[in-house]
Symmetry: C2
Subunit: 326 residues, 2 copies
Amino acid sequence: MTASYTYNRPSRVSDEARSKVLTAAVQLGYGGPDASARSLRRGSTRALGVVMGEHLSYAFEDPQAASFLAGIADVCADAGYCMTILPITGASDDAARIPSAAVDGFIVWTTSDDDPILQAIQAMKRPAVVHGGPAIPGLGLVGIDNRAAAHAVGAVAFAGAERPAVVSFPLSRARIGTIMHGADARDVLFPVTRERLEGYRQAAEEIDIAWHRVPIGVCAHNDAAEAERITATLLSLPEPPDAIAAMSDEQAAGVVRAAVAAGRAIPDDLAITGWDDAATASHLGLTTVAQSLREQGAACARVALGEAPNPPAAPWSVVRRGSTRH
Amino acid sequence: MTASYTYNRPSRVSDEARSKVLTAAVQLGYGGPDASARSLRRGSTRALGVVMGEHLSYAFEDPQAASFLAGIADVCADAGYCMTILPITGASDDAARIPSAAVDGFIVWTTSDDDPILQAIQAMKRPAVVHGGPAIPGLGLVGIDNRAAAHAVGAVAFAGAERPAVVSFPLSRARIGTIMHGADARDVLFPVTRERLEGYRQAAEEIDIAWHRVPIGVCAHNDAAEAERITATLLSLPEPPDAIAAMSDEQAAGVVRAAVAAGRAIPDDLAITGWDDAATASHLGLTTVAQSLREQGAACARVALGEAPNPPAAPWSVVRRGSTRH
DNA sequence: CTGTTAGCGCCTTCAG
DNA sequence: CTGAAGGCGCTAACAG
């Protein structure tokens, strides 16, 4: 029909025919091409699917996740693509929601090795990318070298320390909060957490501290309040730590609060490092790992759009501030 | 075909036929029903469209917007609906992206009276709701009574003051930052801003200050740094304000910084109020307007799903803290 | 510049 | 419990 051209290539239709179509459309209450029918016919939905953590609303609770999404949004807006966030709830039917999403490609926020979402996405045979990890055959991977970064920031955190400790993200999707010593990498199912712990381990061993002697405060969530509580516990141990490397600036902010409450001087009594170089890190003068989640989000979107090949590992750097020993 | 039943009503198919279908599917590389075709046939996409401000990435830069989105996410996750954020860029083709979105309903973050998006959505004849305003015939409206809330918090801000002032959101989508006196409501195209200014006006007039004598620092964006700069300018006026009502806690945080930099005591030299009761408000001890953007987001989602009628105006309250006079 | 044809993949309806 | 038919609304490709 000429009607289709009227909407899709107006120039291919005479002014007369076009206005006839348009007036008829108004009379019939026709509001333009139907998006689903168009997607079916074209074979493209012009939407990117985003899977954020174990519950959809997580996307809007973690400030780093928000930066990441903003990066995706920048690229989607330029490309005219919708950003479709999938309704993940943590229930067993999550994987079934992957194939029923009308999207051209997928972006997955870092998850655990055993997350069934990953297989479901792999089976879709559409462009897809994982942020942070795990690496999955057939899917792209965007992120920094977490082990190297943890090694580097851990070396700064633990410099001059005798009793280093770590405040960690959870080890698995069970999200058990606990205090342990020298986590075994095989028990750690979140690859980002695993790599960072391995990096901290290297840093500890370089100051001649055996990993099994390093206390690790494992938090169930990335949350300042929980980090504060677990730090208070660490500081009340018989041999309290004199350096703590945390996995986010959020957590580090909680560590700082607990240190202040316990009367510790920073960095002399307790050196502290964060991760991400968020606004709170510069406010608090935290030594931290700088990376751009926004740029990484944009990179993910380009891969999921099929616009770019999988990029090389993203850049990072250690930002030294007053929370560590010179 | 039996194949369709195999995926949609497995119980309606014998075990034998089902496994035959499933093995054939694997051999043919068939990954289950196609989402677009299913949407076309069913007449429903199981996705909600969200329009956030003038550029898609705005959604992830404003912390209040994040709360609002989290509320939408809660409801979408429960309903198994995707949340589709539309690629709005501020360009002239934004309105064209409304009809091409494959969604069952629309949620619009507060915008200006003259935003062409609104007409485009009205024309879609699908469930749709606007947060904050403007009110559009045929669309739902969710939000608080901004005028009443501004009147109430303004009364607290201006109590005992002689030279009240306001730090405001922009008046129109042109987003011009300026200092003016007693804005004319007719020039204010953002209804939320307009209503709040009217409320502050009432509060000023109740302490016998004519509105045209009240300086208004109009910021282009909701941003602490800009509020800080404009407050510095206000405080350097020949008759500097001794009370400032801001339109967000973000802005109020900037006002506080400028006040401290100018050596003003809070609240004695300068009373300050914010809006939203964000975390920063309790950190800074700000008097503010409490409202739940998260609950309002959820209410919007229920309306856009057609699950609920348009709710009554959302609750709010004034939270008094140390930033205002006794 | 305009008109026609032929499906995209699915699922509701009806018959076996 | 299984099979067949038909059409949702659209647009690529091909005539005229």
